[in-house]
Subunit: 122 residues, 3 copies
Amino acid sequence: MSIPAIFRVLIVTLSDRASRGDYRDLSGPRAEERLTVFFALQNWKYSIERMVIPDEKDTLRSLIEESARNFDLIFTTGGTGIGPRDVTVDTIKPMLDKEIPGIMEYIRVRYGTEKPNALLSR
Amino acid sequence: MSIPAIFRVLIVTLSDRASRGDYRDLSGPRAEERLTVFFALQNWKYSIERMVIPDEKDTLRSLIEESARNFDLIFTTGGTGIGPRDVTVDTIKPMLDKEIPGIMEYIRVRYGTEKPNALLSR
Amino acid sequence: MSIPAIFRVLIVTLSDRASRGDYRDLSGPRAEERLTVFFALQNWKYSIERMVIPDEKDTLRSLIEESARNFDLIFTTGGTGIGPRDVTVDTIKPMLDKEIPGIMEYIRVRYGTEKPNALLSR
């Protein structure tokens, strides 16, 4: 794998409430902040775009399909719980070439002792 | 999700030996005990039923299909190892709408250092 | 499960570079060393064979199919990352009767804090 001249990054927040404006998206901006620090430390060029969409399978699937060509990295945040509207994992899993289970695993196990709810994240 | 007026809970122990009476089921009663404490602390109403069945795919599948209508929560214990008769995971996984990997993950990683056998549980 | 009179063990290293001789296979011999100690401690008889093959789906699949009859245990090492040539997991997963997720999970979570790259192993 070679490093692109500019990493084009998309951050997608899934949240019915945030997409309606009932609620401010906090995790998207937080992800952007963390990535900004990361890229600066690597001394890699990047551009970051952010979107907030409702918890809708079709909306998410189309967005990922279209974005796959124009972005090097796509992050999603939200919609990973077990509620009926939490569709992120179910939508994206069949679209992956390779799944990397270790990152979510690590988050769950690392935080599950203090915050048992973390264990429900998928 | 709303909380039901009464949580109807089913605990299913899978064990050839316990279902034949060769062996006393310890994990079913232990699960009931833990749930009883949990519901009392939440101040939620509940009813708990327990069953012991052999490690049989068809028996388990039919039981889950029938019980899905009459119970809010179904717990199984046993049959999660790697022996040829350990069919619980293989039977139930295709029946799930959403799998929550984090709970078993946590149990395996948490206890795997002292008890490497825990790593074989699925 | 009964213990065979002699455990016939196959260790397969997947590595394009090692199979071309550009690079010495270190993980195969290391796995053999660890298994030798393990079997000695158990006082179990064993025979160990080792092979180094390129990161090729078809080569690996054929090898496993043929070896399944002649070996009691098959270990693979290598090809578990996320590069385009890392095909071990994708090739073997569909061939398994039962997957044991806990061992890789434990390795990832245990070493992921010091070596974040471990989280990318599948």
